[in-house]
Symmetry: C3
Subunit: 339 residues, 3 copies
């Protein structure tokens, strides 16, 4: 168990300390649950009232909030970021010894760095490459032409199907499938024919990819995630999509083929983006919205209707079905007033 004093934390993370520098901190917790010896944080103003009752050994907060707090505090301009960094001290990372587990199947010819760790039952293709310090948890499959960059971690059961090149420090959670064939089919009179998928996937440095997320390889050319793209669970990225640096997507979002998404975008949960569209930098799409045309200006975009009690919703939804008729009727009546 890691223990640091408040003074050590303040020094290491460059924070202003208010209170006893010798106070020992053995872990982190929420304001509501933290006890003595634990560090809490206040970032969201709506939890400010909890300052009065918290039992935390110390709190990370903004200067303005610190003035109203009588306990020990670490003052930070952005308490959430400061807390995130401090919490890494108390995170227990899995041990990962260099070398391949006896049950792993590493083909002759695979280039595996000496410091890389390959877990139980992993399968590594002859034409794959695993970088220095990379960690493959149990059951990962690294297919032909795939590269796992240095210090990347595939937590467990990650499949890189073919021609997937990961940058450095990429983190991928279990069940993710990167580099499967894109959905390319051509209709030939009365049946479908498969369009061979010949491209790859390029994932930039510091990307994170969630559990059971899928990213298909390009049909021709690559599917691309620039650096620091953050994908939650169960996201679908189709072939030849481009996602700009620092864009984050919440769970279950889906992006259709050849869409091009800018940098610093925020894509809400279960939102959809149709194929071949362009989304500008710094666009926010709210949850479960469907982007059906290119969004060329930064801003926040939405579709859908508000949730309502079902009976009321049904009445409104029934009117929506005839909305155009209604508007036409009213407009016509206003042009030709009833005599």
């Amino acid at each position: 168990m890691t223990t640091l004093t408040l003074g050590e934390i303040a020094a290491r993370f460059g924070l202003e300390l208010r209170g006893d520098a010798a106070t020992e901190i053995r872990g982190v917790a929420t304001l509501a649950e933290a006890g003595p010896g634990q560090l809490g944080f206040l970032a969201n103003p709506r939890y400010r009232a909890q300052l009065a009752s918290t039992r935390a050994g110390a709190i990370v907060l903004r200067a303005g909030d610190a003035d109203a707090f009588r306990g020990a505090a670490l003052v930070a301009p952005d308490p959430y970021v400061a807390f995130a960094r401090i919490a890494t001290v108390y995170e227990r990372m899995p041990a990962a010894a260099p070398g391949a587990h006896a049950s792993a199947v590493v083909a002759d010819g695979a280039r595996v760095a000496a410091s890389a760790s390959i877990g139980p039952h992993c399968v590594v293709d002859a034409e794959a490459e695993i970088g220095e310090g990379a960690i493959l948890g149990a059951h990962c499959i690294i297919g032909r032409g795939c590269v796992v960059g240095a210090q990347s971690r595939l937590v467990a059961r990650v499949t890189l199907v073919q021609d997937v090149r990961l940058g450095k420090r990429v983190l991928i959670h279990p069940g993710a499938v990167i580099g499967a064939d894109g959905f390319g089919i051509a209709f030939a009179k009365d049946h479908w024919e498969k369009v061979p998928q010949l491209g790859g996937v390029v994932v930039g440095d510091d990307c994170e990819i969630g559990a059971n997320t899928t990213i298909d390889r390009g049909a021709l050319g690559d599917t691309v995630l620039e650096e620091d793209v953050r994908l939650d669970n169960q996201i679908q990225i189709a072939h030849n999509v481009f996602v700009g640096a620092h864009t984050a997507m919440a769970g279950c979002a889906a992006v259709a083929g050849s869409a091009r998404i800018g940098r610093y975008c925020l894509i809400g949960g279960a939102a959809g983006i149709l194929g071949h569209l362009e989304v500008a930098d710094r666009v926010t799409v709210t949850a479960m919205s469907l982007v059906t045309h290119s969004l060329r200006e930064p801003g926040e975009y939405s579709s859908g209707t508000p949730i309502q009690e079902n009976r009321q919703w049904r009445r409104n939804a029934a009117r929506f079905k005839h909305l155009d008729d209604f508007v036409r009727r009213i407009d016509a009546a206003r042009r030709e007033p009833e005599s």
Copy 2:
């Protein structure tokens, strides 16, 4: 192949028998497909007409329906529940010998009950615990700090990443990932930093979790499913979500971080619930609806618009884009009538 007489079935499940107690039943089927020797059931009134033509050896039905039926019958107050119980007799469960398959990798230190069964290529961490009678099908991964409760069954290829504690008789289908990191990221001026995810997942007794469903571990504190929660396939449960007992969710539903869902709720397929909201007990959310504010009263809730032929829908959707303007214009005109 199991064979029971109608009399044996009536006695074992406490049902009223009408007909020949010696009739042998060798399986179960739908009303439309059942033949002699098979048991059918009538629960949904819209299949009542099939009573006249069914060839089933006997039918499970309500007293009211039994009066109109001339064949052998088992009378039950709730025929669907009675049928579900009877059908278990004819279910062929996979054989699961106690002990670990030779290809499994069970770390020294793992506490595995003598009666537990560990399938081919499973991986069990040194700090994991497998309870009495638990069954792990092929390719399961049980990570550090995880507990599989007694009589639980992980069908195959289930991943418990870290700090996941399953109750008793929990059933999990292939591809499910429980205990992966939640989606915690903090924006630091021009890039994202990962917020360490330090909590776990607690799953109550008798829960069922569908194929490729993901349940993230808490950031601080746990993600919780109380007992008898039923999750279909491809559901996403984010970090620190709380799901009350007996709540059921249909496929592809998604719940964002720290949402708190009550007991006996029914969440429709592909419905979404935003983060930090509260949903009361006994709330129904219809399919593909998005819950954007707390629902504090029991009842049924919906969002969206009805499906229509595309050309008609386009016209109505175009009007929706200007609905506020239209209402304002009409209201203004009514206040100042055209002269």
Copy 3:
């Protein structure tokens, strides 16, 4: 690396050649990226302008477009289909030696064709059958009562849980789970009871199933995909669904239990179809639409609202909440004009 002359390609695929038959083609690429020695194609008119600047060694295009192009060309009535076929020449398929990898666990009793290939860490049940020329990539699980038809390919990490019968030439991508229990639960006063799922899944010849897609087995009777059904990634097909031949579904679509979908349908990404509905042949459902009643006529169907800048959307959405009241109020006013 494969190399063919334009003349060889024209002859093999029955295309009209314009230009030098001896030109060597070593690969395929997009119009924008193709260089000499590569074949491009023009199918979508909006890329026609690229004809002027392309450096491709030759282009597959329609006769009408060929007249305006001065370089070498292969003329096809459907350039996309022709290109798909030609591209297979340049596709490098994974090597798959007949026989089972040493790490695979193939139970005694399993019927495995001599020409079938079983990859590392696969698990094949005693009551399973693998047909001639079938290929199982790494980590596939073939459960009891499952049949993999001749020439089918399970790319990697595919799970056939129970009673799944695949036709010939079926292609399944990683993470797919076929034949897991359907979501059958019966409410018994104060808790759920599981309804045993006793049916199977039947998948016709030439189907393709995407990464992390789930198809549940029937409760009683089978879930059915007819031949040439094409499913993208992360699709959910519930128990007892029927999907007609040649129907294609884009990523994240979901179909609830016992729905019956016709032939030659196109189901858009993240679209939903409720249970027990019927969808006629040749129905198109646009992305993220929800089918809540049977669609008995061919055609295109949609639901939802257009995406808008969030502030404008909020105003319109607020009006939707009171749409019925508004219509009633206006209609009443028109019946009783203000005096």
